[in-house]
């Protein structure tokens, strides 16, 4: 259970690693928009070049990046199949009784599958090269203007930090409780789905009780260390935009132009 790969971070000193996390978040935002804007294979070509360049300069193995698709492979497949069968066009390619496959369907299904794969690979590249701390930090600073609208920006990022901090602790705790319950005859592995869900109950109750107790302790400890919200709070590591952020932004702009051009002219 402790070998979760979601959000795993590999420290490094590459071009991508050294980018300001705010730049990376903004590029990611632009990238997601682009993935949805892409109309044809030329656009995907542009995105693929962009992703490949980012991947190479981050010194992340392409094979590793491909592996991150594994958890959603089923979803990709279902999307592909659904679009394949339910997109209608003019002349069917294949017809097996009521099932008709049109060339438009094939094209659309491939596009949709690619869209999902590109989304996941892009976001994985972000989390692989950016520490969770840096990400929450960047989010806090990017959302700062929302403070004027009384949106609790600092509180949100503090909550994210604490959640990240306590994931391993609570995992360990779950493990411990599971073993304790198993030692007293609890069975987590057999039976159907409902049985398994029911078996989880004696696990969840103690886990929640202990999480609340931890929250109480943590609140006291934070208060003891002068925590009183985000006002007048400083940070040890300040974020500064540098030249490389400009370069990365320019490259992103180039990719954007390419995809916009594809939408207009092709």
């Amino acid at each position: 259970m402790r070998e979760m790969t979601i959000g795993q971070f590999f420290p490094g000193t590459s071009f991508v690693h050294r980018l300001d996390p705010r730049t990376k978040l903004l590029i990611m935002l632009a990238y997601i928009v682009l993935v949805f804007l892409v109309k044809g294979f030329v656009g995907y070509g542009v995105l693929a070049v962009f992703l490949l360049a980012a991947c190479l300069s981050a010194k992340v193995k392409i094979g590793y990046l491909l592996k991150t698709i594994k958890p959603i492979i089923v979803i990709v497949f279902i999307t592909f199949v659904l679009n394949l069968f339910f997109t209608e066009g003019e002349t069917p390619w294949l017809s097996l009784g009521p099932v008709k496959i049109y060339p438009e369907g094939v094209r659309f299904a491939v596009m949709m599958a690619l869209r999902l794969i590109f989304l996941l690979m892009g976001t994985s590249l972000l989390t692989l090269t950016t520490s969770p701390m840096a990400l929450t930090d960047a989010l806090e600073r990017l959302l700062k203007p929302l403070n004027k609208l009384h949106f609790p920006v600092h509180e949100l990022s503090m909550m994210m930090t604490i959640a990240l901090r306590f994931i391993p602790t609570l995992m360990e705790e779950t493990d411990k409780i599971m073993k304790a319950q198993a030692a007293r005859g609890a069975d987590f592995d057999t039976g159907n789905l409902i049985d398994k869900a029911k078996a989880m109950l004696p696990l969840l109750v103690p886990l929640f009780v202990s999480a609340f107790r931890r929250a109480d302790d943590l609140a006291l400890a934070m208060e003891a260390r002068c925590y009183h919200g985000g006002d007048r709070r400083t940070r040890m590591k300040e974020l500064h935009y540098a030249k490389i952020d400009g370069i990365a932004a320019a490259l992103t702009l180039l990719a954007t132009l390419g995809i916009v051009a594809e939408r207009i002219f092709l």
Binding site: P11, S131, P132, M133, T161, I162, L164, R165, P168, T169, E172, R214, D217, L218, L220, A221, M222, E223, A224, R225, C226, Y227, H228, R232, R233, T234, R235, M236, K237, E238
Partner: protein
């Protein structure tokens, strides 16, 4: 010089259910802490010691009586954060007091809250980590550290805030023996070498023996006070309070009962060995 003072302090928790009486945890305790001393508050579970120590930095406010830190009263809200900076606190559970996902970020947490300049934070964090010998773990995730190491990180987090007093609420209760020694050695070193005032709450007799002064709490009051030697010499009283007596004191007590004139209440094995050699040479 007096640095902390509790004046006839009482505290009670809200009643667990309506209609039941409130739980009196601390009753009319007066205590003065001198600068640079190592004070230990000993007591078994439910004696009110953990509640009492939380009154000393304003985490809890007294129901009656007063607590003063230097010239500030803990009930004066305009100085709450000054008091918390001057009087740092380490808690029992090492996991539940670490906020950040990186060791050095956690040490910086208090300083960030105080609004210290980034360059100064960096300097103080590095210094605090080297004081507790945790520099090599600065970039690591706290979840991979041992209990003793986590407590040392927590101590660094407090030290970076440059406190005058370090309050410790059973900091070793959840650690294994080696972690316990690690933490106690660090604390003792800080007290002896840096002159940091330490108030330690514990139920371990061995830890209490390291202190300059010892207070024993029972049912919310201080019932015994003095140097560890003075307190533990009252073997019968200490035992009646449900606490352990250091084994060597126990031994000398039994020897005395058998008519052997042991002198000077030896507390450690070395002292006992010396005393026995002296007795032997007299025969």
């Amino acid at each position: 010089m007096e640095i902390l003072r509790a004046n006839d302090v009482s505290f009670e928790y809200d009643a667990p259910e309506e209609g039941k009486p409130a739980v009196k945890a601390v009753k009319n305790v007066s205590l003065s802490v001198q600068q640079g001393e190592f004070l230990c508050i000993l007591g078994h579970n439910g004696s009110g010691k953990s509640t009492f120590i939380k009154l000393l930095n304003g985490l809890y406010l007294p129901k009656s009586g007063s607590v003063t830190v230097g010239v500030w009263d803990t009930t004066d809200e305009s100085h709450t954060w000054d008091i918390r900076q001057k009087v740092g606190m380490i808690f029992q559970n090492p996991d539940n007091q670490i906020v950040a996902t990186v060791v050095e970020e956690d040490v910086a947490f208090g300083l960030e809250n105080m609004g210290v300049e980034p360059a100064e934070i960096r300097r103080r964090v590095d210094k605090a980590l080297s004081t507790v010998n945790m520099t090599e773990y600065a970039k690591q995730s706290p979840s991979r550290l041992s209990g003793g190491q986590k407590q040392r990180v927590a101590i660094a987090g407090v030290l970076a805030m440059k406190p005058d007093v370090l309050l410790m609420d059973e900091p070793t209760a959840m650690l294994d023996p080696s972690g316990r020694k690690e933490v106690m050695d660090t604390v003792e070193q800080l007290n002896r070498e840096k002159g940091l005032t330490v108030v330690l709450v514990t139920h371990f007799m061995e830890e209490a023996m390291r202190a300059d002064r010892l207070c024993v709490m029972e049912k919310g009051s201080i019932v015994l006070e003095g140097t560890p030697r003075e307190v533990f010499a009252q073997t019968e009283t200490v035992k009646a309070l449900g606490l352990d007596v250091p084994p060597m004191l126990e031994l000398s007590e039994r020897l005395k009962n058998d008519g052997i004139a042991v002198r000077g209440d030896p507390m450690t094995i070395e002292e006992m060995a010396q005393e026995l050699c002296r007795l032997k040479s007299e025969i």
